[in-house]
């Protein structure tokens, strides 16, 4: 078995490796290289050193979108995880129609971001219309609009992970807690939550990175308006790359910085959350 794996393994990993190289490694290396060059199309580039990185910090819109995105990621991470946990906690109990509720909560995930963005644009503008406003009137409208959209889309998904986590909590531990006289609240915080910590690790990781990476919902809902104040990082990079001739390299440099930030935060979060995990 081992011998034939060694002999024929490349046949099976080969295609995947090739796809990974073409789809990920090559664009990644090329992307980092392009961030040090000036170019119009990615095939004709001229080396300029760190110019793009220096230019980037003079861009007020970029600095604004940096903290705007950070705020967005924090707010959505907290809201989505708390709400998804509550929904999951309610839906692990046995009652009629439990599965229907689970499906309904999960469903928003099946719709693509652009479509969701346009649907919510109609809904939110319809409501704001009563006060003669629209979602792009002010950056805070856009912010909370995107938070609502994001929560609506992701709570169901995270709920599924939390349900799996909650179902894996051994019933004897819960019974033992009950015998020991712990009330529901105490059981939740001292027994259940520590035991579903692996699910929390996964869910917070997903929501933090999703918050930072959000692009299509942002594009469809506000497109950065007004004054590019509701522009999240991904959209800002896209607009720099495609919207400003001569700034393609700067857009690329922003993308590299973006990658470092998101990777850094995700690694830290993962390490921190894992350190809190306990075994049953």
């Amino acid at each position: 078995m081992k011998k034939s794996l060694r002999r024929w393994g490349w046949l099976f990993t080969g295609p995947v490796l090739a796809a990974f190289m073409i789809g990920f490694i090559v664009p990644f290396v090329l992307g980092v290289y392009l961030s040090f060059t000036e170019f119009r199309t990615v095939t004709k580039a001229e080396w300029v050193g760190f110019d793009n990185y220096i230019k980037m910090w003079g861009d007020d819109v970029f600095l604004h979108s940096l903290w705007y995105t950070a705020a967005f990621a924090i707010v959505t991470t907290i809201l989505i995880n708390v709400l998804a946990f509550i929904v999951a906690y309610l839906l692990v109990k046995t009652f009629r129609g439990k599965n229907i509720f689970r499906s309904v909560f999960f469903m928003p995930n099946l719709i693509g971001g652009i479509v969701l963005g346009y649907i919510w644009l109609l809904l939110l503008n319809g409501i704001l219309g009563f006060w003669a406003r629209s979602i792009t009137y002010d950056e805070s409208y856009g912010f909370w609009g995107m938070v609502i959209l994001m929560c609506w889309q992701q709570i169901g998904y995270m709920m599924v992970i939390y349900i799996a986590g909650l179902q894996s909590v051994p019933t004897e531990l819960l019974e033992a807690a009950e015998v020991d006289g712990a009330n529901k609240r105490r059981t939740l915080f001292s027994v259940t939550i520590p035991l579903v910590m692996p699910a929390i690790t996964v869910c917070t990781f997903l929501t933090i990175t999703n918050g930072f990476k959000m692009f299509d919902q942002n594009l469809a809902l506000t497109n950065g308006a007004p004054s590019r104040l509701s522009e999240l990082l991904a959209l800002n990079i896209f607009n720099t790359f495609y919207g400003r001739p001569g700034f393609e390299g700067v857009g690329q440099a922003k993308a590299v910085v973006f990658l470092i930030i998101v990777a850094g935060i995700a690694l830290f979060q993962n390490w921190y959350a894992r350190s809190k995990e306990t075994a049953a």
């Binding site: 119009r40 095939t43 009137y137 497109n223 308006a225 004054s227 495609y242 400003r244």
Partner: protein, 447 residues
């Protein structure tokens, strides 16, 4: 033993198929042109979505006639630069693409072929309208002349003139800003009587609509300043001398509108167009290209008129509509010789053959700058309005927005206008975006 070998062979077969399929997918772009590569082929990346289908049909007719392959792609509204950028990086790049003027050409100069020997250049009535590079090479040729101004509904305007308290009673008197203001405010005050929602259709600031104000409307103060100061070409700085007029006309648009000013940020081009086309508004700022969108609705063709945009500048009574071109053809100099030649031949056919000329003039409704097109003039009422102003001896307002320093400048101006309109910003911010923004963006592009 045999069984095991069979399994190995099958597995190897699957893996090889998967690999080759993957590789073939990557390279199919390059290997296609083997067959018809000898005579060259044409790939046109078109900028104008409103005539996308017509171009495809025209290309098909050319292919049927000559056997030369012509592909036409049209970028969705507002995504032309994005599409061009990714298409140009491909191995089968467009052989023919468009730029919007000198500033647009500056971005793509490295890809522009010298077309001074081309048919389209030789047929230009006025060869000075072509764009040239630093060494005098002809790089871009405009193919459509367009005109914009304030489109109005003649029937509704006549209804207003008939009102007892109308100060202006004929379209001939409506030839300066004060007259326009009086009429617009009069219509707004009597909107219920006239059966409209407002004098002007919404000055929307959604991305599909705001170009009318950050580009076309901003051209008017630029035109007057350039005229007064004798500016030609792209200046490094601009003044705020005519910006009061810009504010006046913009105030007129948003104060006498179908739409509350706080809702402007979400209003689209469709909203504005339909308000005019359905007779809910009397005035609508747009150009000759809007004819297809507004005709065939509540407003009859003979009721469609267009007048210049007035901002209270001295001598504006004698000015005509804003006429120019933002559509230049550029042949990709990186394309193979055969493809460049094929592209040149295709364009020659477009402007000299009966099919091509008929499509350009009557189906697409274009006024073109070529000497081959004199018998082909469109019956678009807005084009006729422009001809009338020219015949009456009015001076056409030139398109100076092609020298605006960058898209960024336009976007910043547009957003400052919106903030001013919805009262979250001040007019000072608009002036800053206009004047200081110009200097900054010019410096960035040319510094």
């Amino acid at each position: 033993m045999i069984k095991r070998r069979m399994a190995t062979v099958v597995a190897a077969g699957i893996a090889v198929t998967a690999l080759t399929a993957g590789l073939a997918g990557c390279s199919s772009g390059g290997s296609d042109d083997g067959g018809d590569g000898a005579e060259g082929k044409v790939y046109f990346l078109n900028f104008k979505p409103e005539v996308a289908e017509q171009w495809v049909e025209l290309a098909a007719e050319y292919t049927a006639e000559t056997g030369v392959q012509v592909d036409v792609q049209t970028a969705a509204s507002g995504t032309y630069e994005t599409t061009l950028k990714s298409e140009m990086a491909k191995s089968d790049a467009p052989t023919l693409f468009q730029v919007n003027g000198p500033v647009g050409l500056a971005n793509w100069e490295a890809y522009a072929a010298d077309i001074s020997d081309s048919s389209i250049y030789s047929h230009l009535k006025d060869q000075s309208v072509a764009l040239t590079g630093d060494d005098g090479a002809v790089l871009a040729v405009p193919y459509v002349q367009e005109t914009y101004g304030i489109i109005y509904n003649k029937a509704l305007l006549e209804d207003y003139f008939a009102l007892p308290d109308a100060e202006i009673t004929s379209i001939d008197e409506l030839n300066n800003f004060d007259a326009l203001k009086s009429v617009a405010e009069g219509i707004q005050a009597n909107k219920d009587e006239l059966g409209v929602d407002g004098a002007f259709s919404s000055a929307g600031f959604d991305a599909s609509s705001d170009w009318r104000f950050k580009t076309h409307l901003a051209n008017i103060p630029l035109y007057w300043q350039f005229k007064a100061d004798g500016v030609t070409g792209q200046p490094a700085t601009v003044t705020n001398e005519y910006l009061d007029g810009y504010q006046d006309i913009f105030d007129l648009y948003i104060n006498n509108s179908t739409t509350e000013r706080t809702l402007l940020s979400g209003k689209t081009m469709e909203d504005s167009t339909s308000e005019f086309a359905l007779g809910q508004a009397v005035f609508y700022q747009n150009g000759t290209w809007a004819y297809g969108d507004v005709s065939g609705n509540a407003v009859a063709d003979e009721d469609l008129g267009m007048m210049p945009i007035y901002i209270g500048a001295e001598g504006e009574e004698d000015s005509g509509l804003a006429t120019g071109s933002e559509n230049y053809w550029v042949i990709n100099g990186d394309a193979s010789e055969a493809d460049q030649q094929a592209t040149d031949d295709f364009l020659d056919w477009v402007i000299t053959s009966d099919t091509g000329r008929d499509t350009l003039a009557n189906t697409m409704g274009f006024v073109t700058p070529f000497d081959t097109m004199d018998d082909y003039l469109p019956d678009n009422p807005f084009v006729l309005a422009d001809a009338e102003y020219t015949a009456a001896g009015k001076t056409a307002v030139t398109w100076n927005f092609t020298v605006m320093p960058s898209e960024e400048w336009k976007n910043n101006l547009g957003q400052a206008l919106l903030q001013y309109a919805q009262e979250t910003g001040s007019w000072d911010d608009v002036e800053t975006a206009f004047v200081d923004g110009w200097a900054t963006e010019y410096e960035l592009a040319n510094g």
